[in-house]
Point group: C2
Chain length 405, copies 2
């Protein structure tokens, strides 16, 4: 008998029919002898409905009251799913985040879980019940309802799995696993059987939005085996876990990419200590997130400084940079909001040389000009004109034999 | 400075615009120096939406999970109203039934309040905040969410008012008070300034559905002055309180009526001890509520036994009576589902003779045949053919000078 925590997202529980289908899946697991805890999101559309109500009342809704409001979304799902389970003869009991004491800090709308008290859940599991818990929400030490921010249901599932020492945390979603790259770009893309937490973090943050980054981090921290599966199809999905021997052969796990990038360069800026902060400080103050940062080698006393941001922030960041440029006496500001980022991800990189050169030569053969390069221990990212995206991803997928298992 | 508990029903908070209007009303009260606690229902339509979701999953929804589900309706309103209050500069804080510890028994869907802990509410009031509480819901001693049954928000307001020793509990609704009778039947019907708890109970149970009976009972028990007012118009409404000197002149407070009545008579039933129970037992077992019961004087060894029920239960009750009649060896069963009940209500009846005879002669003058009569200390009810309803109510309203203050 295993203890499994399953999480079903908004699409998986988007209608009464889908909730009933999920109930059948859960019952099958329990009938097979496993103890099952289920974490659910709000039915798709419900959170948006609530957010719109809030915004109709306040342009910037009060954070505490916003949490009181949106947390009802998951509460509706836990009740309906528990009913659906009972209807097919599977004992079940629902709990809000507050009832099962998912203790968080008091940062409303983006709270972090501090502690999960598994006692009530364990008592129900011992009675043979399926325990259905509202994702995305918790309670602070004063009994105020908090939410973990959008998509936080994955985090709830992992935190519960960690607190209960579950054997596996299964995230049911609308894809059947993590792929070597986006199958819409490379039809030969292959589902990965297994991937490490680190690789998944790089894949997720680079645009393969299957799992919430925080959930993967948390799972890695507590070593909770995480599995991504489809709600709608049978299959083994992808297991995300710590690195083990069986993974050693894999050089590259996947190719992530991000279409919505823009870059800004400030040219001929004085090369002096503190310059990076003088350039990026005002950007951070405007709540614009910076991704890659590249500073070229100094020519004489000036240097060129380039960074990438989300395309939506381009106009705002450009305006800020023009002010900064004037203040710093830089030569000029240039920018491009038609760029993309393509990244190779794989723990195998650590112990294998030549990955970067294979990547660069592959791109060169296709006539693709690399505009920026950035590397970490387990990934290499390159920036290029957006028109090359598909070509680059397909060429790399083939060059690293990712279509083969 | 007074401590006021206000309750706004589903229609009063049915849209964002109405919630904003309610917020203004509340703020005006607070700005005038009063401490204000507000109890709200779900936005109109929301509870029905949730009930339909539940019924799509289970024909008879699990009671515990049903409460988890429908309690979200009020939770949405408390958040939105608190936001609306803050938006106009009025400090406010929302609480679910569970958070403010409205302790109930564990009778899901129809729980009764056992205790209200006013400490958290008082602390907020002392800080100058308006406290917004979800009506209709509570929590049992194990932390399970309970609901008081439909319309229970009035009860929440009264229980809170009692726990806080509030000066007044104001029930805002879509009518501007309690009337001498339904103004749709008698255009001259007059709003009552004041009425006793007892009279209100008779009026409510007889079909003037302004307030929930349980709320009136509770207010009477704890002597909480209760005021019914309109959410949409200015005005003093109707104050419901204990009997006082100023009320002494009023002979009759109002005329209540109920259109949805049916009656059943079992004729020639043996006149022996226990016969009432033999007749009404099977009716009660079928969950059919019996209203008036009249047993005529025995002729020889048999008697006639008549009772009234809701019209919707007529067919079912008739079927039961036919079986009972056969079992008891009664002569026959007759029935009528086209009857109505009209009642005079007033504490003045206690000390004034002649009310009944005025009533009967008024009806006789209009040619209205009385089919049944039943009396209590402060009301006289008569049953008649439904075609006479409007005529009877108008004639009685005029005969007792109810249009005059």
């Amino acid at each position: 008998m295993a203890l499994i925590v399953q999480k079903y997202g908004g699409t998986s529980v988007g209608t009464v029919e889908r909730i009933e289908a999920v109930a059948k899946k859960i019952k099958a697991r329990r009938d097979a002898g496993d103890a099952v805890v289920v974490v659910v999101s709000a039915m798709s559309g419900e959170t948006n409905r609530l957010v719109e109500l809030a915004k109709a009342v306040q342009d910037r809704p009060d954070p505490r009251e916003f949490d009181v409001l949106v947390s009802t979304g998951e509460q509706i799902t836990i009740a309906l799913l528990s009913m659906a389970l009972k209807e097919i003869g599977c004992p079940a009991c629902s709990y809000t985040g507050s009832q099962v004491h998912i203790l968080t800090d008091n940062a409303h709308n983006k709270a972090r879980i501090k502690e999960v008290d598994g006692a009530r859940v364990r008592a129900d599991l011992n009675q043979g019940k399926v325990v259905v818990v509202a994702g995305f929400q918790g309670v602070d030490e004063h009994g105020n309802i908090t939410t973990l921010g959008r998509g936080g249901s994955d985090t709830t599932a992992v935190a519960l799995a960690a607190a209960l020492s579950a054997d596996e945390c299964q995230i049911y979603t609308d894809v059947d696993g993590v792929y070597t790259t986006d199958p819409r770009v490379v039809p030969e893309a292959r589902r990965l059987e297994q991937i490490t937490f680190e690789e998944m973090l790089e894949m997720a943050s680079l645009g393969s939005k299957v799992l919430q980054i925080r959930a993967v981090e948390l799972a890695g921290k507590f070593n909770v085996p995480l599995r991504v599966l489809s709600s709608f199809e049978e299959g083994e999905g992808t297991l995300i876990s710590i690195e083990d021997d069986s993974m050693e052969q894999a050089l590259i796990s996947g190719i992530a990419f991000n279409r919505d990038e823009a870059k800004l360069t400030i040219l001929g800026v004085p090369d002096q200590p503190g310059i990076a902060n003088q350039i990026l400080g005002p950007v951070a103050d405007a709540n614009i997130e910076v991704d890659m940062i590249v500073q070229n080698i100094a020519e004489d006393t000036t240097t060129d400084f380039t960074f990438t941001i989300h395309r939506n922030d381009y106009a705002h960041a450009l305006e800020i940079m023009q002010k900064t440029s004037a203040a710093l006496g830089a030569r000029e500001v240039s920018g491009d909001d038609k760029i993309v980022k393509v990244s190779l991800v794989g723990v195998g990189m650590r112990s294998h040389a030549g990955i970067a050169s294979t990547m660069f030569s592959t791109l060169a053969q296709e006539g693709i000009n690399i505009r920026m390069i950035s590397t970490s221990e387990i990934k290499i990212s390159v920036v290029m004109d957006e028109k090359y995206l598909e070509l680059a991803v397909r060429a790399l997928h083939s060059a690293f034999d990712l279509e083969e298992s």
